[in-house]
Symmetry: C2
Subunit: 113 residues, 2 copies
DNA sequence: CAAATATATAACTTGACAGTTATATAACTA
DNA sequence: TAGTTATATAACTGTCAAGTTATATATTTG
Protein backbone atom coordinates (compact mmCIF):
# COMPACT_ATOMS: atom_id res chain seq x y z
CA UNK A 1 0.00 0.00 0.00
CA UNK A 2 0.97 3.58 -0.54
CA UNK A 3 1.76 5.92 2.32
CA UNK A 4 0.78 9.55 2.20
CA UNK A 5 4.46 10.25 1.59
CA UNK A 6 4.43 8.11 -1.52
CA UNK A 7 1.23 9.68 -2.76
CA UNK A 8 2.47 13.24 -2.65
CA UNK A 9 5.90 12.33 -3.99
CA UNK A 10 4.55 12.13 -7.52
CA UNK A 11 4.48 15.49 -9.33
CA UNK A 12 1.43 14.63 -11.40
CA UNK A 13 -0.56 13.86 -8.29
CA UNK A 14 0.60 17.08 -6.67
CA UNK A 15 -0.60 19.02 -9.69
CA UNK A 16 -3.97 17.30 -9.47
CA UNK A 17 -4.25 18.13 -5.80
CA UNK A 18 -3.31 21.73 -6.46
CA UNK A 19 -5.92 21.98 -9.20
CA UNK A 20 -8.58 20.51 -6.95
CA UNK A 21 -7.60 22.91 -4.21
CA UNK A 22 -9.00 25.64 -6.39
CA UNK A 23 -12.24 23.86 -7.19
CA UNK A 24 -13.64 20.41 -8.02
CA UNK A 25 -13.01 19.23 -11.56
CA UNK A 26 -14.22 16.57 -13.91
CA UNK A 27 -11.69 14.19 -15.37
CA UNK A 28 -11.56 15.80 -18.79
CA UNK A 29 -10.64 19.13 -17.21
CA UNK A 30 -7.72 17.51 -15.44
CA UNK A 31 -6.66 15.77 -18.63
CA UNK A 32 -6.63 19.11 -20.39
CA UNK A 33 -4.27 20.58 -17.80
CA UNK A 34 -1.91 17.65 -17.47
CA UNK A 35 0.30 16.57 -20.31
CA UNK A 36 -0.41 12.89 -20.01
CA UNK A 37 -3.08 10.64 -21.48
CA UNK A 38 -6.57 10.26 -20.07
CA UNK A 39 -5.90 6.75 -18.73
CA UNK A 40 -2.79 8.11 -17.08
CA UNK A 41 -4.87 10.68 -15.28
CA UNK A 42 -7.48 8.10 -14.28
CA UNK A 43 -4.73 5.94 -12.86
CA UNK A 44 -3.47 8.72 -10.61
CA UNK A 45 -7.01 9.59 -9.60
CA UNK A 46 -7.51 6.04 -8.46
CA UNK A 47 -4.45 6.32 -6.24
CA UNK A 48 -5.70 9.59 -4.81
CA UNK A 49 -9.09 7.97 -4.18
CA UNK A 50 -7.53 5.02 -2.39
CA UNK A 51 -5.59 7.46 -0.23
CA UNK A 52 -8.88 9.24 0.56
CA UNK A 53 -7.49 12.47 -0.77
CA UNK A 54 -10.34 12.86 -3.24
CA UNK A 55 -13.92 11.72 -3.57
CA UNK A 56 -15.99 11.36 -6.71
CA UNK A 57 -19.41 12.65 -7.64
CA UNK A 58 -21.05 11.10 -10.63
CA UNK A 59 -22.64 13.82 -12.78
CA UNK A 60 -24.32 12.06 -15.66
CA UNK A 61 -21.50 10.57 -17.63
CA UNK A 62 -19.00 12.90 -16.09
CA UNK A 63 -17.26 12.43 -12.75
CA UNK A 64 -16.54 15.34 -10.52
CA UNK A 65 -13.46 14.92 -8.34
CA UNK A 66 -13.39 16.76 -5.04
CA UNK A 67 -10.45 17.33 -2.75
CA UNK A 68 -10.67 15.85 0.74
CA UNK A 69 -7.44 17.06 2.29
CA UNK A 70 -7.76 15.55 5.73
CA UNK A 71 -5.23 12.73 5.14
CA UNK A 72 -2.59 15.40 4.65
CA UNK A 73 -2.75 16.05 8.37
CA UNK A 74 -0.72 12.89 8.86
CA UNK A 75 2.08 14.50 6.91
CA UNK A 76 1.59 17.62 8.95
CA UNK A 77 1.98 15.70 12.17
CA UNK A 78 5.21 14.17 11.00
CA UNK A 79 6.48 17.59 9.99
CA UNK A 80 5.48 19.10 13.32
CA UNK A 81 8.31 17.19 14.97
CA UNK A 82 10.78 19.12 12.84
CA UNK A 83 9.12 22.48 12.58
CA UNK A 84 10.43 23.69 15.87
CA UNK A 85 13.94 22.67 14.93
CA UNK A 86 14.20 24.80 11.84
CA UNK A 87 12.35 27.68 13.41
CA UNK A 88 14.43 28.36 16.49
CA UNK A 89 17.88 27.93 15.07
CA UNK A 90 19.94 29.50 17.78
CA UNK A 91 20.31 27.11 20.67
CA UNK A 92 20.66 23.97 18.58
CA UNK A 93 23.60 21.63 18.44
CA UNK A 94 23.42 21.33 14.69
CA UNK A 95 23.97 25.01 14.16
CA UNK A 96 26.84 24.96 16.62
CA UNK A 97 28.47 22.11 14.75
CA UNK A 98 27.94 23.79 11.43
CA UNK A 99 29.80 26.80 12.68
CA UNK A 100 32.71 24.57 13.66
CA UNK A 101 32.67 23.01 10.23
CA UNK A 102 32.78 26.42 8.62
CA UNK A 103 35.87 27.53 10.53
CA UNK A 104 37.59 24.21 9.85
CA UNK A 105 36.98 24.68 6.16
CA UNK A 106 38.69 28.05 6.32
CA UNK A 107 41.68 26.50 8.13
CA UNK A 108 42.12 23.60 5.75
CA UNK A 109 43.60 25.73 2.98
CA UNK A 110 47.22 25.09 4.02
CA UNK A 111 46.78 21.31 4.33
CA UNK A 112 46.71 20.99 0.57
CA UNK A 113 49.98 19.17 -0.18
CA UNK B 1 17.52 15.71 -9.07
CA UNK B 2 15.45 14.75 -6.11
CA UNK B 3 12.77 17.01 -4.70
CA UNK B 4 12.16 17.21 -0.99
CA UNK B 5 9.02 15.16 -1.66
CA UNK B 6 11.07 12.35 -3.13
CA UNK B 7 13.57 12.49 -0.31
CA UNK B 8 11.07 12.02 2.46
CA UNK B 9 9.07 9.44 0.54
CA UNK B 10 11.59 6.75 1.39
CA UNK B 11 10.97 5.06 4.76
CA UNK B 12 14.65 4.39 5.42
CA UNK B 13 15.46 8.05 5.02
CA UNK B 14 12.58 9.02 7.29
CA UNK B 15 13.93 6.68 9.97
CA UNK B 16 17.37 8.26 9.63
CA UNK B 17 15.90 11.72 9.96
CA UNK B 18 13.89 10.68 12.99
CA UNK B 19 17.00 9.21 14.61
CA UNK B 20 18.99 12.35 13.94
CA UNK B 21 16.20 14.42 15.35
CA UNK B 22 17.05 12.94 18.70
CA UNK B 23 20.81 13.53 18.42
CA UNK B 24 23.67 13.38 15.90
CA UNK B 25 24.91 9.91 15.07
CA UNK B 26 27.88 8.29 13.45
CA UNK B 27 27.25 5.99 10.52
CA UNK B 28 27.78 2.76 12.45
CA UNK B 29 25.08 3.78 14.92
CA UNK B 30 22.64 4.28 12.08
CA UNK B 31 23.62 0.97 10.54
CA UNK B 32 22.91 -0.72 13.87
CA UNK B 33 19.37 0.69 13.94
CA UNK B 34 18.46 0.11 10.33
CA UNK B 35 18.09 -3.35 8.92
CA UNK B 36 20.04 -2.72 5.77
CA UNK B 37 23.73 -2.97 4.93
CA UNK B 38 26.29 -0.27 5.67
CA UNK B 39 26.64 0.73 2.02
CA UNK B 40 22.88 0.98 1.86
CA UNK B 41 22.91 3.44 4.73
CA UNK B 42 25.76 5.42 3.20
CA UNK B 43 23.79 5.67 0.00
CA UNK B 44 20.80 7.18 1.75
CA UNK B 45 23.05 9.50 3.72
CA UNK B 46 24.45 10.82 0.48
CA UNK B 47 20.96 11.62 -0.74
CA UNK B 48 20.18 13.38 2.54
CA UNK B 49 23.42 15.32 2.23
CA UNK B 50 22.65 16.40 -1.32
CA UNK B 51 19.25 17.56 -0.12
CA UNK B 52 20.98 19.57 2.62
CA UNK B 53 19.01 17.73 5.26
CA UNK B 54 22.15 16.59 7.05
CA UNK B 55 25.73 17.73 7.41
CA UNK B 56 28.77 15.68 8.32
CA UNK B 57 31.43 16.16 10.91
CA UNK B 58 34.56 14.12 10.53
CA UNK B 59 35.61 12.73 13.93
CA UNK B 60 38.77 10.80 13.34
CA UNK B 61 37.76 7.89 11.18
CA UNK B 62 34.15 8.26 12.16
CA UNK B 63 31.65 10.62 10.61
CA UNK B 64 29.03 12.32 12.67
CA UNK B 65 25.84 13.11 10.85
CA UNK B 66 23.81 16.06 12.02
CA UNK B 67 20.26 17.00 11.09
CA UNK B 68 19.75 20.33 9.33
CA UNK B 69 15.98 20.43 8.99
CA UNK B 70 15.56 23.73 7.22
CA UNK B 71 14.82 22.24 3.78
CA UNK B 72 11.71 20.69 5.29
CA UNK B 73 10.22 24.14 5.40
CA UNK B 74 9.59 23.82 1.68
CA UNK B 75 7.34 20.89 2.37
CA UNK B 76 5.72 22.90 5.11
CA UNK B 77 4.98 25.72 2.71
CA UNK B 78 3.34 23.36 0.29
CA UNK B 79 1.26 21.89 3.08
CA UNK B 80 0.25 25.31 4.33
CA UNK B 81 -1.98 25.70 1.28
CA UNK B 82 -4.01 22.74 2.46
CA UNK B 83 -3.88 23.11 6.20
CA UNK B 84 -6.72 25.54 6.33
CA UNK B 85 -8.88 23.27 4.23
CA UNK B 86 -8.78 20.31 6.56
CA UNK B 87 -8.96 22.46 9.65
CA UNK B 88 -12.14 24.38 9.01
CA UNK B 89 -14.28 21.60 7.70
CA UNK B 90 -17.66 23.18 7.99
CA UNK B 91 -18.21 25.59 5.15
CA UNK B 92 -16.47 23.48 2.52
CA UNK B 93 -17.94 22.03 -0.60
CA UNK B 94 -16.09 18.79 -0.19
CA UNK B 95 -17.71 18.04 3.15
CA UNK B 96 -21.08 18.89 1.72
CA UNK B 97 -20.53 16.51 -1.16
CA UNK B 98 -19.28 13.78 1.12
CA UNK B 99 -22.47 13.98 3.09
CA UNK B 100 -24.43 13.48 -0.08
CA UNK B 101 -22.28 10.48 -0.91
CA UNK B 102 -22.93 8.99 2.49
CA UNK B 103 -26.70 9.20 2.24
CA UNK B 104 -26.59 7.76 -1.26
CA UNK B 105 -24.60 4.81 0.07
CA UNK B 106 -27.26 4.18 2.67
CA UNK B 107 -29.97 4.24 0.01
CA UNK B 108 -28.22 1.75 -2.25
CA UNK B 109 -28.86 -1.18 0.10
CA UNK B 110 -32.08 -2.23 -1.63
CA UNK B 111 -30.45 -2.31 -5.06
CA UNK B 112 -28.56 -5.48 -4.08
CA UNK B 113 -30.27 -8.12 -6.24
C1' DC C 1 54.54 -0.05 7.78
C1' DA C 2 50.81 -3.72 8.29
C1' DA C 3 46.48 -4.72 10.14
C1' DA C 4 42.17 -3.15 11.60
C1' DT C 5 38.38 0.00 11.63
C1' DA C 6 34.98 3.30 9.54
C1' DT C 7 32.86 4.86 5.68
C1' DA C 8 32.18 5.72 0.74
C1' DT C 9 31.83 4.36 -4.03
C1' DA C 10 31.13 1.17 -8.07
C1' DA C 11 28.74 -2.14 -10.45
C1' DC C 12 24.90 -4.89 -10.56
C1' DT C 13 20.02 -6.80 -9.76
C1' DT C 14 15.35 -6.40 -8.99
C1' DG C 15 10.88 -4.57 -8.19
C1' DA C 16 7.75 -1.06 -8.44
C1' DC C 17 5.48 2.47 -10.57
C1' DA C 18 4.31 6.04 -14.13
C1' DG C 19 3.12 6.24 -18.46
C1' DT C 20 1.48 4.05 -22.80
C1' DT C 21 -2.16 1.77 -26.15
C1' DA C 22 -6.15 -0.95 -26.55
C1' DT C 23 -10.45 -2.06 -24.80
C1' DA C 24 -14.46 -2.20 -21.60
C1' DT C 25 -18.29 0.12 -19.39
C1' DA C 26 -21.72 3.37 -18.85
C1' DA C 27 -24.57 7.34 -20.04
C1' DC C 28 -26.37 10.53 -23.19
C1' DT C 29 -28.26 11.71 -27.93
C1' DA C 30 -30.02 11.56 -32.66
C1' DT D 1 -30.99 1.28 -31.14
C1' DA D 2 -26.58 2.99 -33.07
C1' DG D 3 -23.28 6.27 -32.38
C1' DT D 4 -20.85 9.31 -29.45
C1' DT D 5 -18.93 10.97 -25.21
C1' DA D 6 -16.70 10.28 -20.61
C1' DT D 7 -14.13 7.54 -17.81
C1' DA D 8 -12.08 3.27 -16.06
C1' DT D 9 -9.47 -0.94 -16.47
C1' DA D 10 -6.09 -4.29 -18.49
C1' DA D 11 -1.89 -5.47 -20.27
C1' DC D 12 2.45 -4.00 -21.40
C1' DT D 13 7.01 -1.32 -21.37
C1' DG D 14 10.76 1.36 -19.71
C1' DT D 15 12.88 3.76 -16.21
C1' DC D 16 14.60 4.52 -11.85
C1' DA D 17 15.86 3.88 -7.34
C1' DA D 18 16.72 0.90 -3.28
C1' DG D 19 19.15 -2.59 -1.93
C1' DT D 20 23.04 -5.93 -2.62
C1' DT D 21 28.24 -7.47 -2.83
C1' DA D 22 32.82 -6.20 -3.78
C1' DT D 23 36.18 -2.85 -3.45
C1' DA D 24 38.39 1.66 -2.60
C1' DT D 25 39.79 5.29 0.59
C1' DA D 26 41.11 7.14 4.81
C1' DT D 27 42.30 6.97 9.68
C1' DT D 28 43.97 4.78 13.75
C1' DT D 29 46.98 1.46 16.16
C1' DG D 30 50.46 -2.03 17.18
Amino acid sequence: MMTIFDVIADPTRRIILDLLRDRPRIVSELVAELEISQPGVSKQLRILREADLVTVQQEGRKRLYVLTPKPLSELDQWLANYRQLWEDRYDRLDVYLEEIKQSEKEDSNDNTE
